[in-house]
Structure formats: structure tokens, C-alpha cells
């Protein structure tokens, strides 16, 4: 079980939820599928590109990054730079 945090203005797409509990996901790819299924409004955002933080480490486009059980997961706007 992981608790996924959704950033403020994305919460509308997650039916107003600030956190979503998702069970049995071992990777980012599985997480995205589960999230899109639970809250279809999230799907276009996940598709367009977001960053995912797992226990404080931020990843882009990393489908197979493992998500340890009980880890803290946040969906963030895509991080870039200059």
C-alpha cells in the first residue's frame, strides 16, 4: 500500500482528493495505471508528463522505477530547468 499525494491544483482531476491510497503497485508504470483507473481525470495529466517523487527522489518518465511498499509517493508537475 502506498499513499500518493496529489499537488493542489491537480486535486480536481483526482475527484478533489489530496491523497489517494493505492495497493499492490511495484513500479511507476503500475502506479499510473492504477491512478488512471481510480480517477480517470488524472489520465491526461499522467500522459502529458509529470514528475514522480518516491521517498523524496524525483523521477521523470521512469516507468520501471521500483516503488517500495509503504514509501511516500508524490505526483508533481514536471521538473525541468534552465
Amino acid at each position: 500500500m502506498v499513499e500518493v499525494q496529489i499537488w493542489g491544483s491537480l486535486q480536481q482531476a483526482a475527484d478533489g482528493r489530496a491523497t489517494v491510497e493505492i495497493a499492490d503497485v511495484a513500479t511507476v508504470k503500475a502506479l499510473f495505471s492504477a491512478l488512471a483507473e481510480a480517477h480517470p481525470g488524472l489520465a491526461p495529466h499522467l500522459e502529458k508528463g509529470v514528475s514522480v517523487s518516491i521517498d523524496g527522489q524525483i523521477f521523470n518518465d521512469a516507468w520501471f522505477e521500483p516503488i517500495p511498499d509503504g514509501s511516500e509517493v508524490c505526483i508533481l508537475p514536471r521538473i525541468t530547468g534552465g
Binding site: G8, D55, G56, N60, I79, T80, G81
Partner: protein, 755 residues
């Protein structure tokens, strides 16, 4: 695959990493041999020039190129008609590269010509007849957000609101971050300070204008030479806009004369290719400085409101920000990064930041070093400073009370991994600068800054030559000495001298995809890939030695540049050096190489604390920077001289932003200072030496502990300088730049109020 990262990084002893060898491109760059964007030529080359809108906002009724096309020496002309359908994510880029229905800012490209000489091209531009219907314009972020503002895009509906509005507006989107309950937090506060801030738009100010040389043959094969931070991105964007296969376009990154985020997108490149396609000749396009200011991608101007509540002992109970950025004529200002980073230095129970992305009749913004963060840090760190003053608390102590620690929940969401803010604050307090006496009319300012840093897709190819030297190919353009760092890392891993490695930046056909050199990612990501490539090369080296010795490959270890037999065979054979194994490679199985293709995650965030003393002339409002110290966490400095260089360069760009740099628009919506004469970047005589302190709190996700260093250094300066000027002038400065008229008006206003 993530590399095996072992704890106890601090204990690692490096032979080369952390030393300061000479950079491999040094001699080329001090002799004038290095070839930058505009330095390349091709046989039969034409000169390209771009016609730009003189209006801030105008409907383009028609473009008549017939007279220009008839001018002898003109070989091709392109307009909006030459750029057709393209992928959705490139639509704004396409429209920015060549205006369609409307010109949305002064300088917006409207047509381009290729001709046999610059003078013919110039004449041709004058012969192009554009029929404009001039429209009302808006260049100010606040005014553009008003309901009756001139509308740039009829179909722009604000994204991110609870209810999608029925009417279009110039507000592209709203975003919100935070946690807790700020109202509850403010109710618990003993002191609440709030203030409004404004910053003007600034330009990255790279000294090399955009330049490229495009060659496309009639079979569609094309080459592009260009100064860019990301030649793979240039390839994707150009291929997408021109309907080409990626394989048909080879992009070579020239030496790049500064980027700072401004060379992470395309402006000239698709136009040059279109002109080359039409003329069947090589076409060189180079921007003038005037075009760079008017038609490349400066950063956002901003309007920011910040409110922070604290208890008597300095603990922050709530923090809130409302941030508006204009990002030029298209959506995409760095508002999310600005809003996320606003309070990232502090561990907060109740925090909220709301951002709006607003479009105006100005050039489409591009990234600028830690995009979005410096302006927001200016506002937040100014309020923190004001609170310290009102509480009578030392400003470092106030920050230490609230500074984030390892594992704290960040203001933008996730809990923080290992972080080094506290260490930079403690180093600031211990630095002699912090307690040095100040002269008359001088003030000291301090501010902290944060940046995310970034990893991303990266390829490295490491080829061993038969003489034991190494050809290292990376795909991230070198904008600040990264070839030296990559060579150091490869040499460190392989156990050979630095001089035995030669690192080059490969073109898009020679190496797999690499993300742009941005987000302070190169030393981290290309460094990781280099380590991985070197380690895969070492595996091959050990396997070859094992075959030569006829022992199992697991029984060979790599130490100090040598394969050594280990385990039961230890001491059985003389260790073989890399050079010996390389020499025998043709007989032992052929060439030896290592390579890595990764998507690097886990770039460590970084923090900095800046200290600055400034002096204000109370009669003229003129500000001099008299002392400056940068203290920043680098994780691990690979080549400390170039880490210091990043610290110093970021600080000085911040000094320019704080004091004198600004885009100045007239009532007519035209930029009034499109040149280095009146867009005033700091000159050598404006500055003191910039002292640096490299703090090293290793990033646990990198085998050496590296964090990005390029961007964080521009985050604290605006606030640090504002705090020092406010201390020296005796009045809070809340608008940038703190140009003399503004500072003098603030001083005079304070005096008038006191009377």
C-alpha cells in the same frame, strides 16, 4: 538501472575527482580556434535574414513577397505558408518561430529570406509588404490579467480552476501547492508580515547571439550546425515542424557562447532549414543583438504577494504566496516551478502558494537558470528578513529555526532526502564576512535559495584506443567546462591519467538521445552515465585479462588502472595495465568499449546561502556591491574551479537582475532597450571578487555524491541584495531592479514620511 550506491560516501578517497586540471577545450578557446555558432561556413552558403513585426499586437492581413522574390540574388523566401501542421506540443513553438494569423509581440518573425549577400538580404526584407491591422496590446502582467485586457488568444481558457471559465482570457492557468491550514497557522502567529513585490523581466544575456547553419539536400537529408544547449531537442523540434524523419536530420552542437536556459528551444533553426530546403543551398542565420533581446526568450516579469506568520521565538506558523508570472505571448511561464520552490527552504506545517501563468504581448519566455525561483525567493526571503528585523532576531538564527532537515516534508509535497541548507547557514555564520564591520551607508543582506536539479535521459560512449587512451563521447553540450569534469570521472573510474581521456560532444547521429543541458543536470547525469560506461568497459577489460591468464573472469579485479588476479589466483600473474590490455585488444576479441544509456533519476536538490554588503549613495540612490560571498552545497565538487565559476556567475547574474537589468517597454508596446548599452549587465568594474564556499553534503543517489550546481546560485542574490540595500537605505525595497531612481525615490519617500 540504478548504479550500486554504497553508504559512506564521505569516506571515499578520490585520486582525480576534486582536483583542478586544465580543460580540454582551453587552448582552442584562448587562441580563437574554437568554432561557435556563427563561425561555420559552407560552400555556396547563403545569408538569411528575418523580417520582424514592428507592432506589439497586429493581425497579419497579407504578406506580399513578390517584389522581394524578384530582387536579383534572392534565392528563397519563407513565411507562415511554409510551416504547416505539426504535432500538438509544437504548435506554440511553430507559431513563435513564424507568426500566423497575428504578430503577438514586437520582433515576432513574419518572413525570412535567403540571399547571396547580407546587403541583398537586407534590401529584400524592405521589399516584403506586410499588411497589418494593428490591435490593442498589453505588456504588463497585472493589466493583462484584468477582464477587459486586450485578448491575445481567442481560445485561451484558464486551466486549473475548479470550474472551467466560459470566457477566454490571458490567464493560461492557475496552480496551487501546499499543505496544512494557513488560516489556522496565521491565527497562531504572534507576528504576521505581508508585502507585495514586483520584478521586471530580464534576459539571460549570453554574449553569443543565436546562430545556425542549415543544409538540406533535395533528398531530404539535412545537417544543422547550431549553438544550443540541446541539439537532440533541436532535432526533434525541427523535424516535427518540417515533417522530417529524425534520422534525416543530423544536428551538431557548436561551441556555445552561453545559454543559461535561453538556448533550450528553437528560434532560427526551423527557418534556416526551411530556407535551405527551398533554395537547395546552405543557409546561415545569425541573430543581431537587437533580435536577441526582442525575439529570443527572456524570463518572466512577476507580481508576488507573500504573507508569513511567526511566533515570538521565530517559528513560522504559516506561509502563503500569490504569484503571477507573464511568460510572453504563449502559455508556459515557469509558474509551477516558482510556486513549488517558494517556501522550499523551510519546514512548514501550514503553507500555500498559488500561481497564475499570464500571457502578454512580449516574446515567449524561455528558461533562465532556475526558472521561476529567483523572483519568488526575492519576495519570500525579503519578508523573512523583515520578520527578523521586527523580532530583533539574527537573520541566520531565524532561518536556522525554520530550515529544512533531512526527511522533513517539503513545501512542494514530498519529504526531503538528505539536504544541506543548515550546513550552508552554519557556514555563513562562521564566515568572517558575517561579522566584518560595515562602513557608512552600507548594509548587509543574507538570503537562502533552493533548486530542484534534474536528471534525465543521457547517453555516453567510451571507446578505448589501442594505445590505452580513451575517446569519451557525451551528448550534452558543454556550457561551463563539463568536458573536463567528464574526463576526470572517466579517468577516476578507469584509473588512468586525466590527460589520457579526450571528451567530445557527439552529434545526434553518433549517440543516442540526450536531454537538454539544463536543470543543472550534466555533471550529475552525464557523470552517472560516464561512470556506468567506464564500469562496463572495466568488465570487458577484466574479462580480456581473464582470458589471457586463462582464469575465470570473476577472479579478476580492477584496481588503480590494472587488472589483477584475485581470490585463489591472487599473485599468480603480473597485473596488466589498461594500456597493455588495450594494445592486445585486436588479438583478444577486438575493440573494447563501454557505454551507458540511462534515464537518471534522483538528482539531489541543492541549497545555498548568500551574504552581500552593499553601499547606497543617499543622494543619488546608486548601489555598489562591496562584498559578496556564495555558500552552496555541491554534494561533491568534481572540478572545484568550475563549481566556483558556477557560483560566481550565478551571483553576478543575480546582481544584474537585482540592480539594473530590466526589459523597458514604451506605451507603444515596443522594447526600448534592446542592446547592451541600456540593458545593463554588470561590467568588471561594478564588482568585487566573489568569494565562494563549497559545502559538500553528498547526494545519496550518486556514487560520488554529486548534486547539480549550475542554477541554485542565481536563486538567493535578488533577495540577499534587496535585504542589504534595504538595510543600507533604511527603507524596504520591494521592486526590482533597484535602479537608482527607484532607490532614491524610496529614500526620499521615507524622509518625507518621517517629516
Amino acid at each position: 538501472m540504478p548504479l550500486d550506491v554504497k553508504p559512506g560516501l564521505e569516506a571515499r578517497k578520490f585520486k582525480l575527482v576534486g582536483t583542478r586540471p586544465l580543460r580540454p577545450d582551453g587552448i582552442d578557446k584562448v587562441t580563437g580556434r574554437a568554432r561557435f555558432g556563427a563561425d561555420m561556413s559552407a560552400p555556396g552558403m547563403l545569408v538569411g535574414r528575418i523580417l520582424r513585426s514592428p507592432h506589439a499586437h497586429a493581425r497579419i492581413r497579407s504578406i506580399d513577397v513578390s517584389k522581394a522574390a524578384a530582387l536579383p540574388g534572392v534565392k528563397a523566401i519563407v513565411t507562415r505558408d511554409d510551416f504547416g501542421d505539426c504535432p500538438d506540443d509544437l504548435v506554440d513553438i511553430r507559431d513563435n518561430v513564424m507568426a500566423r494569423e497575428k504578430a503577438l509581440y514586437e520582433g515576432h518573425a513574419v518572413a525570412a529570406v535567403a540571399a547571396v549577400s547580407a546587403s541583398v538580404a537586407r534590401q529584400a526584407l524592405k521589399l516584403i509588404e506586410v499588411d497589418y491591422e494593428v490591435l490593442p496590446h498589453v505588456t504588463d502582467v497585472e493589466k493583462a490579467a484584468l477582464p477587459d485586457a486586450p485578448l491575445l488568444h481567442d481560445d485561451m481558457v484558464t486551466q486549473g480552476l475548479e470550474e472551467t471559465p466560459a470566457k477566454p482570457s490571458n490567464i493560461a492557468s492557475r496552480c496551487q501547492f501546499g499543505h496544512g491550514d494557513v488560516d489556522k497557522g496565521f491565527a497562531q502567529a504572534d507576528l504576521v508580515v505581508e508585502r507585495k513585490f514586483r520584478t521586471e523581466a530580464t534576459h539571460q544575456g549570453y554574449i553569443e547571439p543565436h546562430a545556425c547553419l542549415a543544409t538540406m539536400a533535395s533528398d531530404g537529408q539535412a545537417d544543422l550546425w547550431v549553438c544550443t544547449q540541446g541539439h537532440y531537442y533541436v532535432r526533434e523540434a525541427c523535424a516535427g515542424l518540417l515533417g522530417m524523419d529524425l534520422s534525416m536530420l543530423r544536428v551538431t552542437a557548436s561551441e556555445i557562447g552561453g545559454g543559461f536556459g535561453g538556448k533550450t528551444t528553437v528560434f532560427l533553426e526551423p527557418v534556416a532549414l526551411a530556407l535551405s530546403r527551398k533554395s537547395n543551398r546552405p543557409v546561415k542565420l545569425v541573430m543581431s543583438r537587437d533580435e536577441v533581446f526582442k525575439a529570443s526568450g527572456p524570463t518572466s516579469s512577476s507580481s508576488i504577494w507573500v504573507k508569513i506568520g511567526v511566533t515570538r521565538d521565530g517559528r513560522i506558523t504559516a506561509a502563503e504566496a500569490l504569484i503571477k508570472f507573464q511568460g510572453g505571448a504563449y502559455a508556459g511561464s515557469p509558474i509551477t516551478l516558482g510556486a513549488m520552490s517558494a517556501f522550499a527552504c523551510y519546514a512548514l506545517e501550514n503553507v500555500k502558494s498559488v500561481g497564475y501563468d499570464v500571457v502578454v504581448n512580449r516574446p515567449k519566455q524561455a528558461s533562465y537558470r532556475a526558472p521561476g525561483a529567483p523572483m519568488v525567493a526575492f519576495a519570500v526571503e525579503s519578508v523573512i528578513d523583515e520578520i527578523a528585523g521586527q523580532l530583533g532576531m539574527d537573520p541566520v538564527d531565524l532561518r536556522l529555526v525554520n530550515a529544512v532537515n533531512d526527511g522533513d516534508k517539503s513545501s512542494y509535497g514530498p519529504k526531503l532526502p538528505k539536504v544541506g541548507l543548515r550546513q550552508t547557514l552554519e557556514a555563513a555564520k562562521a564566515h568572517p564576512h558575517y561579522t566584518a564591520p560595515l562602513g557608512p551607508n552600507q548594509g548587509r543582506g543574507i538570503a537562502c535559495g533552493f533548486w530542484f536539479n534534474f536528471g534525465g535521459q543521457t547517453c555516453v560512449s567510451l571507446n578505448l584506443n589501442v594505445d590505452g587512451t580513451v575517446a569519451l563521447a557525451v551528448g550534452t553540450p558543454d556550457i561551463g567546462g563539463s568536458r573536463a569534469s567528464m574526463s576526470l570521472i572517466a579517468a577516476e573510474e578507469l584509473g588512468i591519467p586525466y590527460e589520457k581521456v579526450r571528451c567530445i560532444v557527439a552529434d545526434t547521429s553518433s549517440l543516442g538521445h540526450n536531454d537538454i543541458t539544463e536543470g543543472s543536470r550534466v555533471t550529475f547525469s552525464s557523470g552517472l552515465a560516464t561512470i556506468e560506461a567506464a564500469r562496463s568497459c572495466i568488465q570487458v577489460l577484466c574479462a580480456r585479462a581473464a582470458r589471457i591468464w586463462d582464469i575465470p573472469p570473476e577472479a579478476v579485479v580492477w584496481e588503480d588502472g590494472h587488472a589483477r588476479p584475485a581470490g585463489p589466483n591472487a599473485g599468480e600473474f603480473e597485473p596488466m595495465s589498461l594500456a597493455e590490455i588495450a594494445r592486445l585488444a585486436p588479438k583478444t576479441g577486438g575493440p573494447i568499449a563501454g557505454h551507458a544509456e540511462i534515464n537518471a533519476g534522483g538528482a539531489g536538490v541543492s541549497f545555498a546561502t548568500h551574504l552581500v554588503d552593499s553601499e547606497v549613495d543617499p543622494e543619488t540612490g546608486r548601489v555598489s556591491i562591496v562584498r559578496y560571498t556564495v555558500i552552496q552545497d555541491a554534494g561533491k565538487a568534481i572540478h572545484p574551479a568550475y563549481v566556483e565559476g558556477q557560483y560566481q556567475g550565478g551571483a553576478v547574474q543575480g546582481i544584474g537582475w537585482a540592480l539594473n537589468e530590466e526589459y523597458i517597454y514604451g506605451e507603444d508596446g515596443r522594447l526600448q532597450n534592446a542592446g547592451f548599452l541600456d540593458y545593463r549587465i554588470p561590467v568588471a568594474s561594478d564588482l568585487p571578487m566573489i568569494d565562494t564556499v563549497i559545502v559538500e553534503v553528498p547526494n545519496p543517489r550518486h556514487p560520488y555524491g554529486v548534486r547539480g550546481v549550475g542554477e541554485t546560485s542565481i536563486v538567493p542574490p535578488l533577495a540577499a541584495i534587496a535585504n542589504s540595500v534595504s538595510a543600507a537605505a533604511g527603507v524596504r525595497l520591494a521592486e526590482l531592479p533597484m535602479s537608482p531612481p527607484r532607490v532614491l525615490a524610496a529614500i526620499d519617500g521615507m524622509k518625507a514620511a518621517a517629516e
